[in-house]
Amino acid sequence: MTRVRRPGGLAGVLWVGLGLALATAAAVAPVAGQCAASSELWWSAAPLFVNDTDGRRGLGGEALLSGCRMGHDLSTDFPRSYYLTGDADLMVFSSSLTVPQALTISGAFGWSVSLAKVNPVDTLSNDPDADTSAGARAFDYGFLGVGGYGRFESSADRKERAVLFGAEFRYANPMWPFAPSLVATWDWVKPTSSRARAASDLGLDSYDRWTVRGYWLIPVRSVTVEVDAAAFGARGLPSVLDAQGWDSGEYVRATLVWQLRQGLSRHFVLNGVTVAYADGQLPTAPANRHAVTVGVEVGSR
């Protein structure tokens, strides 16, 4: 499989491969986009010399086109942002080659709002250490984000094609340690052409998949407890994939982190020690797994 980082717009990672219409949905997770400018258009074109997966060689070309528009309304009540992105990655070859990535056209939009209101600056106390003074926030219930995306994918030989539409919902409030940080996604995938499915005597049935992920970070003195839990389900998958366990699953990971922040040398610092227990099934694997890990986190100063 090939991993492609989008030049702007979609900050997530897109996975494509031979089974591109089967396993992509849950892995696409666009987050609120970031543009360097309010309106940005970016493109590139490059000739390619390809050595394909079967060892055949050939020439080709790739063109990338990416557009991004971002805006913010930074009013004192419920400030919000939106983004709109479009990307195209077009690849052509002089001969029929087996390469993992060929053509994608995608678009995404999203909107996030801070469920918060800031106080007027002139109401701030003149004493920075006054306990009773109003802070910057009149209230802050975190942020809410929603987004949608669509994509068309095709293999290089055009034998595998699919369209995908998805939506996401996000919520987090760093002011409330016990409140979960939530991400929910839903994707609908429709294969439009598939030689692989035909060979297995499968139809071009659409299917949909949802995921819900919750994350908690609870500080208890010098220890923090992180809990990361996820569940996913799929409907309409070919029965062969259902049988393999792609239809649903749950996953949980709990981590204890001892914050140390001790210097090891001039350049390195020991951030902490972690002990984690993970159990369950991720959307990207059909089987249950569990593990206990102990880690030492070292960072640069």
């Binding site: 987050v31 609120a32 942002s81 801070s114 800031v118 920075p128 910057a136 926030r137 942020f143």
Partner: protein, 570 residues
């Protein structure tokens, strides 16, 4: 008490203008710095001019290397010199923003070693980065502290402002100059008796006289700095009025007087020629206290013909002999270090001049820091002169003579000169709002208690940027952090606040949320400035929260560069 009579403590932001970018890069080219390095610096300065940012060391290194990698001739250099090293992969690989400081430093050190080996010291990225580290400090006080930290507790430096004014200067550049004036004044209040400010004057600035008068009479400045090669002649009628004022108020003038340094046009270098002062220093103005900095260049002492008739050094020497208040200084004399014969001549001649009773109290020690850092650290320059001179001679040039120049009396019991007395009066009036204990001489002169109550520079709760930053961050602090109080929390890093949870799948969204609230909070009282708009401000601010490396004082500096805040809360 020793005094470095020639130091620059301005930050890059306070001198930067289109003209400044041009003269700074011109100076680097004149020094023989490689073209790709000058280009990279120029690109960096252009970015900084458009959107000034506070850069920590890692960001500074990453920015310079990123700029370098975009220059074709640098790729050729890498291929030629470092192509076989894995290092080249690091430099070429992109994503430099994410690399830790030590990796970037190693990359830079390797490039610097190759360049230094071929081109000599003072021309490598290492030296340039070291100079930029001073220049890109958030405040003038921090720059001054870097220099003062290498000096004895009661030593002082003369902080020379610089006005790189251009005729078509935009409002942005005028604002930067005002920041330089207020920042230099702040540094003097932060370090009483140790930072002695000189006002940088350019007669092309329409209100130069009023600004100078205000600086001298109301802001504690005790001298004036001129830089004629930046585009003005010293017998300009506007300057004659300045000299008359300086004479009346007993204010010393220090001017750039060397063939190197900054210049607007090549032909303007001659504006620094001391010959032009011969007709000026006549009549009443013959009493003017004036220092011809750099002694006309290191050659005056380092070369056998350096003081021959017609040389700048000879003219300066004649003026020192003829006029009662003419001085010179030895700032940025480094070229004699490269040749033993030049070096021997330099110190032999200097010792000889110091035996002359009329001259011995007129030759002053100065370093030209932080610009000197393009070649060497300040402390190396001090030690170099101490090593090559007798203790008595060094004490004369670094102690007795500079004290006379800045206004101390020649003998104990005599009054201070008027300019220094005004400085003392200014400090006396502000003695309860200084930033540190005063230098011993000032404490003795005032004989009243000073109170070091002043908030650290750039961390003053009376400024909008700091107030917004602190009140915003306070909501995200633990009780233990809040209990440490405002002063201590200046250095609190963003990653120590409760929002910092980089493994949260919504971490990017949380950082955007923070940026939105903080900007909305600030937006109530200030417009965007310096090319920023909502998208640009959100992009910078979100990135600062995402990285989490900056301290609260740095976040305040970021806001200060994004918004056109009025300086103080009303």
């Amino acid at each position: 008490m020793r005094i470095n009579v020639h130091a620059h403590v301005f930050t890059l932001r306070t001198i930067l203008s289109r003209e400044a970018v041009r003269v700074i890069t011109q100076r680097l080219r004149d020094r023989g710095v490689r073209g790709f390095l000058v280009d990279a610096v120029e690109f960096m300065l252009d970015d900084f001019l458009e959107k000034p940012q506070h850069l920590d060391e890692r960001e500074l290194l990453a920015r310079l290397l990123t700029k370098l990698t975009g220059i074709g001739s640098f790729s050729d250099f890498l291929e030629e010199n470092l192509g076989r090293l894995p290092l080249a992969v690091v430099i070429r690989g992109g994503g430099l923003d994410g690399l830790p400081a030590d990796v970037l430093q190693t990359a830079l050190d390797n490039i610097s070693s190759v360049i230094a080996e071929k081109d000599g010291v003072g021309k490598s990225p290492f030296d340039i980065v070291q100079a930029l580290r001073y220049a890109m400090k958030s405040t003038i006080t921090e720059v001054a502290d870097q220099l003062l930290d290498t000096m004895d507790h009661d030593d002082a430096l003369v902080a020379l402002m610089m006005d790189i004014h251009a005729p078509d200067e935009p409002e942005r550049d005028q604002e930067n100059f005002r920041l330089q004036v207020s920042g230099t004044q702040e540094a003097a209040l932060q370090r009483p008796g140790r930072v002695l400010p000189f006002f940088g004057l350019h007669p092309g600035r329409s209100d130069h006289f009023d600004l100078m008068k205000e600086a001298v009479e109301e802001r504690g400045f005790l001298g004036v700095k001129l830089y004629p090669s930046l585009g003005y002649e010293v017998d300009d009628p506007a300057l004659l009025k300045v000299y008359e004022y300086c004479l009346e108020k007993d204010v010393p003038v220090l001017l750039h007087c060397g063939h190197g340094g900054f210049y607007r046009r090549q032909e303007f270098i001659d504006y620094c020629n001391p010959d032009h002062w011969i007709p000026v220093l006549q009549g009443d103005l013959s009493e003017l206290r004036v220092c011809f900095a750099h002694f006309g260049g290191w050659q005056s002492l380092g070369r056998p013909d350096g003081l021959d008739p017609g040389t700048w050094g000879c003219t300066i020497l004649d003026l020192m002999r003829d006029k009662p208040n003419v001085f010179t200084d030895l700032a940025y004399h480094t070229d004699q270090m490269r040749d033993a014969a030049d070096e021997q001549h330099y110190f032999t001649k200097l010792a000889e001049l110091l035996r002359d009773a009329r001259l011995q109290k007129r030759i002053l020690f100065g370093t030209d820091s932080w610009l000197l850092r393009l070649d060497m650290a300040d402390v190396v320059y001090w030690r170099y002169f101490q090593h090559h001179m007798t203790a008595g001679d060094f004490d004369t040039i670094a102690g007795r003579a500079p004290r006379l120049f800045v206004g101390f009396p020649e003998a104990a019991g005599q009054p201070l000169r008027a300019n220094l007395q005004r400085y003392v009066d200014y400090m006396t009036a502000h003695r309860e709002e200084v930033g540190a204990e005063p230098a011993a001489w000032l404490a003795e002169a005032v004989d009243l208690d000073f109170v070091a109550s002043r908030s650290a520079a750039q961390w003053n709760y009376d400024t909008h940027a700091v107030r917004c930053t602190y009140q915003f961050a306070k909501d995200l602090m633990s009780n233990a952090q809040k209990a440490k109080g405002f002063k201590v929390n200046r250095a609190l890093q963003l990653r120590d606040l409760s929002y910092w949870r980089p493994r949260d799948p919504n971490f990017d969204g949380i950082c955007q949320h923070n940026a939105r609230l903080l900007l909305a909070f600030c937006r109530q009282i200030a417009d965007y400035a310096r090319g920023y708009d909502e998208v640009g401000a959100m992009s910078v601010c979100t990135d600062v929260f995402r990285r989490g490396e900056k301290a609260l004082v740095d976040l305040a500096a970021v806001l200060d560069s994004i918004f056109a805040f009025t300086r103080r809360m009303s």
